[in-house]
């Protein structure tokens, strides 16, 4: 059932407009009919040759999804989503599994090029075909819904690290997947998580065994490609005692008129002394300047610090999507465990972002840090929504929260909604919030030194975000800065 064929014209039309990464790749697709019912789920499960337990799990999630309703507490507004008008499965036409990049559709490789994948990582893609030169970023490429190319598995395997598409992990490491899938975000956790659990098609699986420091940064590029294909990624990362892993996730999507739903679930599990660093640069298509089109990004990300002194850090740079609904959270169960959330959320034109975090302090002496930088321009609305909860046993727990909002222009909004609950008298919670406008005198000062208006805005915005950007791995930080610049183009003057 090959469905989507796109012409050069489409590519040109898309790339001529504002969104730099708006193009579509002509790869033959295998696509499910629109609509969601048990048959759709059976189809997905069958296509992926899944074991019975997983189908069962999906069906339970589907039942839970039907019981719940779409949440409406966030400060976002959108027309009703018709969940029956979405294709829930699209996969590149099955071919024998690619053993090297030679076997990967050259169209896909060109897509990577167009995506502006950093030179370093493009070199890695090339490196698969050629000599095994020095590499320290591995990419598990998720092309639409099925992982097509996975690199550097061998180097990782030597270290004992498993990094593969989750569908493959279901086949190769069923005991691990079964043990941890849904253990942090239960299938019926919330409306969008339940939907994801029912229909997720692929995503990444990472397992870092006891005492292993993952020898490279792990990187996944997500990309929505086929028309009306909801993207339901599922990612599961497990770091055993004393393990360390840094995972990078970056997204772009082709330009579309119709709104596209994205409901991903990410689960992280950290045992004693383990550290997981999860970095995201999110650049889904935000819609055009009038607010038409754009991705609806409803994401559930949660990390469980199960072990003592374990640490989970979320760093995100959110510039894309028409709507962002996303609260990467940490459940700080292990004694002395640490949760961190560093976020830059940029909204321009008619974008809406309602994002923040939840830090649930369960164990004693747990610590969390929240640094949130919201930048609003155009007619956009940007909300920080964060929960810090100190449970009765969280003696000596500490939280520090800093939420800064920067307004560009006078048509946009910034909102800060902190929820603080403390049930332990020895726990300490600190919250600081500021809202500022890019001052005329700052712009004038920069321009009088020779900077253009846009360069001046970029400089000021990058300065504002510095505390977050410095948490990103180097190659991402550079991209993120460029992205901030692109996102705010034309926002002043």
């Amino acid at each position: 059932m090959a469905a989507v064929t796109e012409t050069l014209d489409t590519v040109q039309a898309a790339t001529q407009s504002g969104y730099k990464w708006g193009f579509e790749t002509a790869i033959e697709m295998d696509i499910a009919p629109k609509g969601l019912n048990e048959d759709t789920i059976r189809l997905i499960s069958a296509r992926k040759q899944e074991p019975a337990w997983l189908l069962e799990w999906r069906l339970k999630a589907f039942a839970a999804w039907r019981e719940t309703t779409e949440p409406h507490w966030a400060r976002v507004a959108h027309p009703p989503i018709d969940y029956q008008d979405i294709h829930y499965y699209a996969a590149p036409k099955p071919k024998p599994g690619p053993k090297s990049l030679d076997e990967v559709d050259p169209e896909l490789l060109r897509t990577y090029e167009k995506l502006g994948i950093p030179l370093k990582e493009r070199a890695i893609l090339a490196g698969v075909e050629g000599a095994g030169t020095e590499q320290n970023v591995a990419i598990d490429a998720v092309f639409d819904s099925v992982s097509v190319a996975t690199t550097f598995r061998e180097t990782l395997a030597k270290a004992g690290v498993i990094f593969c598409p989750i569908s493959e992990a279901v086949r190769e490491h069923p005991e691990l997947v079964r043990k941890y899938l849904g253990s942090v975000v239960p299938a019926g956790d919330n409306f969008f998580a339940a939907l994801n659990s029912a229909v997720f098609t692929d995503g990444s699986f990472v397992f870092v065994p006891k005492g292993v420091r993952c020898p490279m940064e792990l990187s996944t590029y997500f990309r929505i490609n086929a028309r009306n294909t909801g993207q339901f990624e599922r990612t599961l990362i497990i770091a055993e005692e004393g393990a360390y892993v840094s995972y990078l996730e970056g997204c772009t999507a082709p330009q579309r008129d119709e709104n596209q739903l994205h409901a991903a679930v990410v689960e992280l599990v950290a045992f004693d002394d383990a550290r997981i660093k999860y970095s995201t640069v999110q650049n889904w298509y935000p819609g055009n300047a009038e607010g038409k089109g754009g991705i609806y990004n409803f994401v559930t990300k949660r990390g469980a610090c199960r072990g003592a002194r374990s640490k989970i850090s979320w760093t995100q740079v959110e510039t894309g999507s028409a709507i962002t609904w996303k609260y990467p959270s940490c459940i700080l169960q292990g004694e002395g465990s640490v949760g961190e959330f560093y976020s830059v959320a940029v909204t321009n034109n008619h974008q809406q972002a309602d994002t923040g975090t939840k830090m649930i302090h369960i164990g004693a002496n747990t610590r969390s840090t929240i640094i949130s930088k919201g930048i609003s321009a155009g007619h956009s609305n940007n909300t920080y929504r964060g929960l810090v909860r100190m449970m009765p046993k969280a003696a000596g727990a500490r939280n520090y929260t800093q939420c800064d909002s920067l307004l560009i222009g006078d048509q946009c909004g910034a909102h800060t909604v902190p929820y603080i609950e403390s049930r332990n008298p020895t726990a300490r919670v600190e919250h600081e919030a500021t809202t500022s406008k890019i001052a005329e005198d700052q712009l004038f000062y920069c321009r009088s030194r020779g900077l253009s208006q846009e360069d001046a805005v970029n400089l000021i915005v990058n300065g504002f975000c510095k505390d977050v950007l410095k948490e990103l791995p180097m190659e991402f930080a550079v991209e993120a800065q460029k992205l901030l610049a692109v996102s705010l183009e034309g926002s002043v003057g």
Binding site: F444, C446, R447, S448, G450, L451, S452, G463, K466, D467
Partner: protein, 249 residues
């Protein structure tokens, strides 16, 4: 050279400059003195292109080019530089990054090659040394947490690195102790030469002991009421503005 002819300007409908005529030939340093509210800062902002001011009459020419139609950054490219009376803080923006971005923006606009980090640092360190400033000045965020004196010295540092052809110093001496004042003056004097001119705006004669101007102008109530040589500044010091016919506005 800079020529200001019949300049009338104000802000929020209130006229502040009531017909300024001033010529600063190439290679000369002129001082503008005057009481508070005489329009000194308005003049410096209009020269640098700050928005919000209304120019109702007159013109400003720099090398014969109409300055008033130029954006602030175009004026910087042309070689104008304003040392701010109240330098602005840029949180999170490192001084070195700021200055290198600015310098390379100017060089790019002038068709010159940009400086890489090493070349820039060499230039910046030389400027720091000449101004007797510590190297960590470059690492700090632009003007954030700087003392009043440090902010003023940072303005002079920027000037030394960007090397403008025409500098406007808006009360750069205020808030400086005598040692800092000498350093700032030396920074300006080091740039003096046939290709550099400056307009030094000040309340006090003491800066002009160290930056000896070619001409001194007295601004009062939006007009230049007296012009003369360096001796005019000393006369002002002795008899006050009233003594030279410049009552406070």
């Amino acid at each position: 050279m800079l020529e200001i002819r019949g300049l009338r300007a104000g802000i929020n409908g209130q006229e502040i400059l009531r017909g300024i005529d001033l010529v600063v030939p190439e290679g000369e340093v002129h001082a503008i003195m005057g009481p508070n509210g005489s329009g000194k800062s308005t003049l410096s902002y209009i020269l640098a292109g700050r928005e919000g001011y209304e120019v109702s009459a007159g013109e400003i020419l720099f090398d014969g080019r109409d300055v008033l139609v130029m954006t602030p950054e175009e004026r910087a490219v042309a070689g104008l530089f304003l040392a701010f009376q109240y330098p602005v803080e840029l949180p999170g923006v490192g001084n070195a990054n700021f200055l290198r971005t600015a310098l390379n923006a100017l060089r790019r606009a002038r068709g010159e090659t940009e400086l890489d980090a090493v070349q820039f640092l060499k230039r910046a360190r030389a400027a720091l040394k000449a101004l007797m400033m510590p190297d960590d000045m470059l690492k700090r965020n632009v003007n954030v947490g700087f003392s009043g004196g440090e902010k003023k010295r940072n303005e002079v540092l920027q000037m030394a690195i960007l090397r403008p052809r025409f500098a406007i110093l808006d009360e750069t001496d205020s808030g400086l102790d005598i040692d800092a004042l000498k350093i700032v003056a030396e920074g300006v004097n080091a740039l003096r030469g046939p290709d550099f001119s400056a307009l030094v705006i000040t309340h006090y004669q003491r800066l002009l002991d160290h930056i000896v101007p070619d001409r001194v102008h007295v601004l009062a109530a939006g007009r230049i009421v007296r012009s003369g040589g360096p001796e005019l500044a000393r006369a002002l010091e002795e008899s006050g503005y009233a003594g030279v016919g410049a009552e406070a506005a």
